[in-house]
């Protein structure tokens, strides 16, 4: 990842996760992992949405 890191605008780290060996988990564990993934990315989603907006630099800042 060290070599690839400079190319990423945002690196999402997930914690906790299932074990790497738990490839086919029980349905309850799968749901748990999905919840962890959602919780890890949720704080950054407004930033992603903002970064993907077309830059409205024509409109002057009124604040």
């Amino acid at each position: 990842m060290t070599r690839n890191a400079p190319y990423a605008d945002w690196l999402v780290r997930f914690e906790p996760t299932l074990s790497p060996i738990d490839l086919v988990p029980e349905p309850a564990r799968l749901d748990e992992a999905i919840g962890w993934g959602r919780a890890s990315i949720e704080p950054g989603l407004p930033l992603i949405k903002r970064l993907l907006e077309p830059a409205a630099w024509e409109e002057p800042y009124d604040g």
Binding site: M1, R3, N4, A5, Y7, A8, D9, W10, L11, V12, R13, F14, E15, T17, L18, S19, P20, I21, D22, L23, V24, P25, E26, P27, L30, A33, I34, G35, W36, G37, R38, A39, S40, I41, E42, L45, I48, K49, L51, L52, P54, A55, A56, W57, E58, P60, Y61, G63
Partner: protein, 413 residues
Amino acid sequence: METALCGPSSSTPARSRAARSTGSATCSACATDPFQAGRHRRPIPRPAPGARRRRRDRGPPLARGRRAARPAARRARHARALRRAGAALAALAEPLDELRSRLIDHHGDELSARELDAEAGRKLLVSVAGGGGGAGLVYIGALRAAGARGNRPAYVIGSSIGALVGIFARARPRAVGRVRRARQGARPARALLPRRDPAPPRAARPAVARARAVDRPQLPALRRRPAQDQRPRDSLRGVVAGVRRASFERLPQRFRRQPERSLRERATPDLARSTLRLAPAVARRMWQVAMFFDPRVVKPVALGGDELTRRAGRGRRSGVLGRDPRRPALRDRRVGRALDALLGELLEREELAALVDGGVASNVPVELAWRRVQAGKLGSRNALYVAFDCFHPQWDPRHLWAAADHAGRSSSR
């Protein structure tokens, strides 16, 4: 003058008092005579009268005041900066408009104004999902949450479990429920079938292009036209690691005789294979994978990015995979033969000797994604790269030993 014992342990009251009063835990006498360290007495210097009180009195109210004043001052400073930036942009509008016109005139035969505006004015989301085995299942939740907020990636590239989750979450969003049912005994064949592409990105506002056209450092790259027909039929790429032929030939023989070894393992009776032979076989295979963690030995190969590898997943009727959605494709002998031929052609073209898990070459292939997008594979080179790494920072290749041990124990139960 008061003296204190200079002890080696900071838990000694005299030592703690001395260290506090001097502000340092080292003692020059101990340094000069290490055999008597902690056994001699030394003077405790006293601070100037009132100095400590003044510091304590001055600190907290000032800190409180700074903390209270900081957000308002920061907001005001940001507002002033934004007003200045807005005023500067108004002055820049005319020169940038002229520059954009010159750019279009110069590259008119290669790049239309609409293409320039579409590329410079709007960022596309590129999601890069790394490998990690079962740990990577968290990506499902992440991609779902991003999609629910309208942040649907235009390009998903992943290796190992990241590629699989990309297929499920990107191409077949409802496939997770099918996987869950598959875990409970249902058939997962339909979940693996590809789906139709999303709509291309909308054109951006022309004014934005004027700002971005001079801002982007890779401006000369605009000469390469990202034509409509260069856009991928589907924007999902799986990355595998190709073992370079020259490096593979230098590997020990036991690593290169996999077909024979595989046949021998299949011919072993089930009892011996499951209880005695499987654990060392798993450990051996994991160790073999560890040998490939070297860019001189392996290189990342993106599947689905060219005509050859796209054939593997094209459509239900004509593609190699999924001719009949009611039958598991990989059990179909015709599919197996077609895949063998396709992979053989791929190995020949790339001068590779074998294909292994993509995480070996590049666990989170952001660099590969960037290079592909910059080469015009997405139709735009203006993208936001969001990398998913379920291993960071808790993974190290040395953990393969623990994985092999765990797999061995699981198989011997």
